[in-house]
Symmetry: C2
Subunit: 321 residues, 2 copies
């Protein structure tokens, strides 16, 4: 179980792996579905068939602020959307649900809602998207980049905005800035005027603190574009369908080997690589891990119900739902 | 585990319960999906989300002669069709797959196959059907009857054709019919001529033996039409979403209580009643069973992975996958 209680607010972000299989699920691995839980909000990346069952099992909540990012319209990555909407409706969700995906996602969701008579009382805000900024909030943005697969596919990058540096109370007093509204102005990055003298944020704020960034490849071959897209992200969740001996099969099917994932992560100076989307032919991910660790020094093999608690400094602990 | 080996051919029919939940699944119950396994063939009734996972777990085989009968187009009864087709395709199925369901089923399957780019090398023979004979083979037929639910819904009745009576070898000898082709003619119900004298099948065959019949309600209120439709069937798998205290909710949502299922089964002189489709609000089916058994003397509560082996005389054993 994840650590609860006083330590809880140390966690900036949790990554919850609900499904880590490739196109054919196994008794141990469900279809792809990965959630980022942050500040009471859920960002879901892909929703393969059965995602509502693993989502329920993880207890992530039916009425959270939520966005779903679909990598591509192969059934194993998107079929769970439809049941997710139906069950949210039965669970009386009232918050808008955002769904983003490549061209065709809106038609897929809308036409199925019509055919299945799904009429939730919450708004399903579904949108076809392309490369660039997919959504942008006060505290984070999600970016998209075209990935190389057998059909149009998007990789995603969740990126917290940099936070303002620490407020130096002593320095503020020295500069004669009275506690209150003016401190707030400075913390928000605005200069203030004290007894006719201008005080700038740079005089009272420490260096800005970078946010956490987490990349998700979906199904993909490695590519220079993705290498650039994922540069220096803290965590990269990457297609690791095959081991090196199956590299030809990876090429033909538009997937990656774990060594290719590790090479891309190393070149992109990614801090931590998380392998996922393992072919059903493997009993475990031991060889994937071994091959990736020869190339990159921080590699995790995802498994269903793995939880990664990411701390403010980018370090992590793992646990299980 | 089901009994294997010499006893195996005693089983005419197996009923395998892959999912027994109502509209919201639980940790114990998956979405509706029930299979009849008979003579190497699978007849599936409903395919809720995740059916391919439970189907795989039950080891029923991806390349069997197979027909799927969809009761209605609510997601919890049909969303599993799409992943089932995709996984069958990945598993190199080459046999035609028949899918039957009420108006809209063909559009649902075809448009999703188009949107998801599913191009199996086997034929998906999907057909919208109404009441009456849905399919009719040499050895059985499946009939449909409109059921009372919130959207157009079909109940189904699987019915083996009556088998010819036992061939009386002694009587055939007495009548001078030589062993060989003429015996075959008589067994197939045709009269033959021996030394200018006509011998009719009735002279050498015992009384015809009725086949097994199994009804499946899908989501349904009880109705006089279903009572007549299911008359004297050996097994009736019936909507038992609620216990009696929730009867108003059953009426509003177009479902049945277990007592209503039992009353219908009793009036229809059904031999064995199998309750299924239990609401997620119940921890177990104890009260459903108790209430139904006050009315009908042979009641089973279905659970996921329950297997019912039906013998030639209509009796049964239960086991688990």
């Amino acid at each position: 179980m994840p650590i609860k209680g006083p330590l809880y607010d140390r966690f900036l972000v949790k990554i919850v792996f609900l499904g880590t299989s490739a196109a054919v699920p196994t008794a141990q691995r469900s279809f792809p579905c990965i959630c980022i839980q942050r500040d009471g909000e859920i960002l879901m990346f892909d929703a393969g068939e059965g995602s509502q069952m693993t989502y329920r099992a993880a207890g992530l909540g039916w009425n959270k602020k939520m966005s779903i990012f679909v990598s591509h319209l192969h059934g194993d990555h998107c079929l769970g959307l439809l049941g997710m909407i139906q069950t949210m409706s039965l669970q009386d969700r009232d918050k808008r649900l955002f769904i983003y995906g490549p061209l065709g996602t809106e038609e897929f969701v809308r036409s199925n809602m019509r055919m299945l008579g799904t009429t939730p009382r919450f708004e399903v805000a579904v949108q076809d998207v392309t490369e660039g900024i997919i959504c942008n909030t006060n505290s984070y943005a999600v970016h998209g980049c075209a990935a190389k697969h057998s059909i149009p596919t998007l990789s995603y990058l969740f990126k917290e905005h940099a936070k303002a540096g620490r407020f130096n109370v002593q320095r503020a007093h020295e500069l004669g800035v009275p506690e209150g509204a003016l401190w707030g102005q400075l913390q928000r990055g605005n200069s203030v005027c004290v007894s006719g003298v201008q005080v700038t944020p740079g005089q009272v704020l420490g260096p800005s603190r970078p946010g956490i960034s987490i990349g998700y490849s979906g199904d993909s071959r490695p590519s220079p574009e993705l290498e650039e897209f994922f540069t220096r992200c803290n965590y990269l969740i990457f297609d690791s369908t095959f081991t090196t001996d199956m590299i030809q099969r990876a090429i033909v099917t538009g997937h990656s080997t774990s060594a290719q994932a590790a090479t891309l992560a190393k070149n992109a100076q990614v801090q931590n690589l998380i392998l996922t989307h393992f072919s059903a032919r493997y009993q475990d991910a031991d060889i994937h891990l071994k091959e990736a660790r020869r190339i990159h020094d921080s590699v995790i093999a995802a498994q269903d119900m793995l939880v990664i608690d990411v701390y403010k400094d980018g370090s992590y602990d793992t646990s299980s739902v």
